[in-house]
Symmetry: C2
Subunit: 251 residues, 2 copies
């Protein structure tokens, strides 16, 4: 950054009284799969402003931590889950008045977790909520601050990440069936993918999925038991599945 003279008149230097002070927060959009649909975690605000409204979890950045550390800390405080990876910064928001009391710039992160349902079940139900992302995006449920915009951007980013990185495996357990993995893509993109072609794409490129040799129990309606896979290391470098198929736009 430069410290040149400012267009409005007075030169801005390094005297701490010369530049405007902001609070910096980190907000986290926590995505997870539940009932085959994309869900997200909300918390109820305990203080003004927007007291009692639902919001995405977050908190103030401390001077002695990085933004990423702040996000990781907030995620751990909120869910008890400490996942160093899969925390992706996707935007910064600083519109004047986005917080009615003070100047706040927030840096937004996307986290992908599994089993958030069980986490929420262990919490006071009045304070945490797992909702379908569609309910937020359609404004069926409204959020504090500019959190609606943040959620929209988060989902857009998640859709891209799904195509480009390996976040798909973060939605599922340490072992998973290809049907479960496919459901992640279908729910996030709002499309239907051909199971046969999906399997081929994923299995073909090597390093993506590693067969464990084990199988699932079929559901009560029967069906052939599915093979269980675990994620290979190649999920770091970009995924094998790409979209375009007929869209059904479910969220």
């Amino acid at each position: 950054m430069t410290t040149k003279s400012d267009g409005a008149g007075a030169p801005i230097g390094y005297d701490p009284s010369q530049f405007p002070a902001f609070a910096v927060t980190v907000d986290i959009v926590i995505l997870t799969m539940s009932d085959g649909a994309l869900h997200m975690l909300l918390v109820r605000r305990g203080e003004a402003p927007f007291k009692g409204m639902w919001a995405i979890p977050g908190g103030f950045k401390r001077p002695n931590e990085t933004l990423h550390e702040a996000a990781r800390r907030e995620l751990a405080e909120e869910t008890g889950v400490d996942v160093p990876t899969l925390l992706t910064q996707f935007g910064a928001y600083g519109d004047p008045g986005r917080d009615p009391r003070i100047n706040v710039v927030t840096v937004a992160y996307l986290a992908v977790l599994r089993d958030v349902g069980t986490i929420v079940a262990g919490t006071d139900a009045a304070d945490a909520l797992l909702v379908p992302v569609g309910d937020v995006r359609s404004e069926k449920l409204d959020l504090a601050f500019d959190h609606l915009q943040i959620v929209r951007d988060a989902v857009d980013r998640a859709r891209v990440e799904l195509e480009v990185t390996g976040i798909a495996t973060a939605f599922v357990g340490p072992t998973f069936t290809l049907a479960e993995l496919r459901a992640v893509y279908e729910a996030t993109w709002g499309v239907e993918l051909d199971a046969a072609n999906f399997r081929r794409s994923v299995v073909a490129e090597d390093g993506w999925v590693i067969p464990t040799g084990r199988r699932t129990q079929p559901g009560p309606a029967g069906g052939r038991p599915a093979e269980l896979y675990r994620a290979g290391r190649a999920w770091k470098h970009g995924g094998p599945i790409h979209r375009l198929p007929r869209t059904t736009e479910r969220n």
Copy 2:
């Protein structure tokens, strides 16, 4: 964001004295094409810290403007160019100590311009510099703060944007030949693209390029005159050119 009790002890509320104050700046990586290579604009710092070093342009965000407005204002102050679009936010940086004096979080933007060479020529040469991006990435030239990291991220982002959006046309003039457009891809990705196939990909999808009917003068060595095109509106929705070809990694 929430205002729950903070892990380190004292609860954090909305009392302005209770949360840490940060300066918020906006930094802009300005990319342009020059001599067929990707270049960027640097400015010399006039004040401590890092006085006299090269840095990317930027400045403090004001409380009454959005981050995007701040970026646009800084870009205009620095170059005189006021381009509302093609200013893409790509990251926020807030490591403790990144500014040795105060706590600064910076929000970084990517701008793509043409004719920056002429802009720089009109400036005091000691204060502004147009350098090949490769010289920065290879640390042949070193920058103030964590600006090296910011530049690396900016170029990564530009490479993705090139594939996904229409920023390619922002590098070239209002009318351009397909060879000029191809040079943008080649320089940014560090690859060579087959001219014949490039043409087909671009011309095929409609809405990308619109023939003007006019032609260029061939160079001094002769050659068939190239058709001039202008950008279609479809460049907003994702580009027709994708990478993979043999890489030569030039920056």
